[in-house]
């Protein structure tokens, strides 16, 4: 336990790189650009920037600041506020564990595609473009017809998943020092790769047409709730807040480090990466539209379909450097996934467990990774994609937003937003005023509750999520399991209590 209490990032830049790495994830590439196109281009960007400053930055500042103030992970922070609030810290911690179990599977697909790109396994030219969808769903996933039909394991995915978890273990088992150093390398490489891919994409014929779709303006959407829902939800998912880990990263910040400046740098770098990724995505989409003579409506421009079908189509059709572009794209994808995955593992649930129970960090890291891998096997089955979608809806939407709203309320009203502000200002060059109290106490929780009601309950209670019929009810079951697990962990005796 002593060893963990002294744990720190060796340099400030390690924290910045680690925090940026945790924030930049797959959603920056496959969700932000689509949201921008779908919700009015520049109008979405305006809503996003407003949301970033009134919800994203205050939320991230809260997590960094509280972790730094109490020198604890999320459950420890809320236990210090009051014993009965400890579950508020375990709630995102349990969610982080569950998210990691399927996030690593997506990384495993990415790894497979990195190698498949070397030979263009789905085919080259127009034939490859036609076969890209079948290659993903029938060859790689061997997708069954419903969540109820699990089928056998897809062994190549299992192998890639095992490799991914081994890498995560090697990064985290020695603690924050190595996490910081690795993050510096991983993030530098990711930025270089996205810039290389960006240049390649912008030089393709038809790229400008794609960009015009990406950045078109429709101001009328600002009057409706949809664009605000889209912007707020994207901010919530993108900054990796509400997943417990930023409390732990905040605790690893040096005593005199500037919390506010670190928060703003992390948020703006995350947004910059997403904005640049949009250029790469829509330039490629524009090229596909021109090369195949199709309209934008015929091209999948979001989610898993974008990464594993549309982009391979683009790679097949490229006039030159196909294989290299494919390898670089999927390597970049794997790296940005990696920095989020080890953040979820280490800061999300390993630090809280070591904090509370005083267990050996290396052993917790080993068992955490092994159990994460074993649970991840569910998503390596032929019905795995359906389960991934259902679980993702629960823990990367409902628990994240509900947990974030409750945490903001507890910090704002029980601990005291003013106390947090005073602590943050004492360490920071950029001072925040009393307006930050209002954001933490009212605006953040109200914004998150709006997203969860408007985009969650109002949709899923009306119609089963994803068209999975009764299987969609697992959303509520998993939500309940996370809640119960949080209370169970709160009730378990800590090492200190046992002594």
């Amino acid at each position: 336990m002593e060893e963990v209490v002294r744990e720190k990032f060796l340099k400030r830049r390690h924290l910045i790189f680690a925090a940026i790495g945790s924030a930049i994830g797959l959603g920056n590439v496959w969700r932000f650009p689509y949201m921008c196109y779908q919700y009015g281009g520049a109008a979405f960007l305006v809503a996003y920037i407003i949301g970033l400053f009134v919800i994203g930055i205050p939320w991230l500042l809260t997590e960094f600041g509280m972790g730094h103030y109490f020198q604890k992970g999320a459950p420890g922070v809320f236990r210090k506020i009051g014993k009965k609030w400890e579950w508020v810290g375990w709630f995102p911690s349990v969610s982080a564990f569950i998210i990691d179990t399927y996030y690593c599977v997506i990384m495993a697909w990415t790894l497979i595609y990195m190698f498949s790109s070397m030979t263009l396994a789905w085919g080259a030219g127009a034939a490859g473009a036609q076969q890209a969808g079948d290659y993903f769903f029938k060859t790689v996933l061997r997708l069954s017809d419903s969540p109820g039909t699990l089928g056998g394991l897809n062994w190549p995915i299992v192998g890639a998943l095992a490799f991914t978890w081994i890498v995560i273990y090697l990064v985290i088992y020695r603690g924050a020092e190595i996490v910081g150093k690795v993050s510096q390398v991983v993030m530098t490489l990711s930025w270089i790769l996205i810039l290389a891919i960006l240049i390649r994409s912008l030089t393709l014929p038809g790229a400008v047409d794609g960009l015009n779709y990406y950045l078109d303006i429709d101001w009328s959407v600002l009057k409706g709730p949809d664009v605000w829902f889209a912007a707020f939800s994207q901010i919530a998912f993108s900054l990796s807040v509400g997943m417990a880990g930023m409390y732990a990263y905040g605790r690893f910040i040096a005593k005199k480090s500037d919390i506010t400046n670190n928060t703003v740098i992390t948020s703006l770098c995350d947004t910059s990466f997403a904005f640049l990724a949009g250029f790469a995505v829509f330039s490629t989409v524009g090229y596909i539209m021109q090369a195949m003579g199709v309209s934008l409506q015929d091209v999948t421009i979001a989610g898993i379909g974008l990464a594993f079908v549309t982009y391979p189509v683009g790679i097949s059709l490229m006039p030159a450097l196909n294989q290299l572009t494919g390898v670089l794209f999927f390597l970049m994808f794997w790296l940005i996934g990696l920095s989020s995955a080890y953040y979820l593992a280490y800061a999300g649930y390993i630090v809280p467990l070591v904090d509370k129970f005083g267990w050996n960090r290396k052993k917790v890291a080993f068992w955490g990774c092994l159990i994460g891998f074993l649970i991840g096997l569910l998503y390596c089955t032929q019905g795995g994609l359906y389960w991934l979608d259902i679980v993702d809806r629960t823990v990367a939407f409902y628990t994240l937003l509900i947990g974030g709203a409750i945490a903001s309320l507890v910090v704002g009203w029980v601990f005291g937003a003013r106390k947090l502000r005073e602590h943050v200002n004492a360490t920071s060059d950029i001072k925040v005023g009393p307006w930050m109290d209002i954001l933490i106490k009212i605006v953040v929780p109200v914004g998150l509750v709006f997203v969860v009601i408007y985009g969650g309950f109002m949709q899923d209670l009306k119609k089963p999520y994803g068209g999975y019929g009764g299987w969609s009810n697992f959303i509520w079951i998993i939500l309940l399991v996370v809640l119960i697990a949080s209370f169970v962990l709160q009730r378990m005796k800590s090492k200190k209590e046992e002594e």
Binding site: K11, R12, R13, G41, A42, L45, V46, I49, V208, L211, N212, Y214, L215, D216, I217, A254, K256, S257, D258, T260, N261, V264, I265, L268, C269, T271, S272, F275, T427, S428, D429, I430
Partner: protein
């Protein structure tokens, strides 16, 4: 490229580059060093 797209790029460039330039310029001015 359409004027709307160019306008969007300028808007984001001002916010992101301006914001990051401001933050990095404040490093070391009382709030912790880059290397601390």
């Amino acid at each position: 490229m359409t004027p709307a797209a160019i306008g969007s790029i300028i808007f984001m460039a001002v916010i992101l580059i301006g914001g990051l330039a401001f933050c990095f310029s404040r490093i070391g001015k009382g709030g912790g060093e880059w290397e601390d």
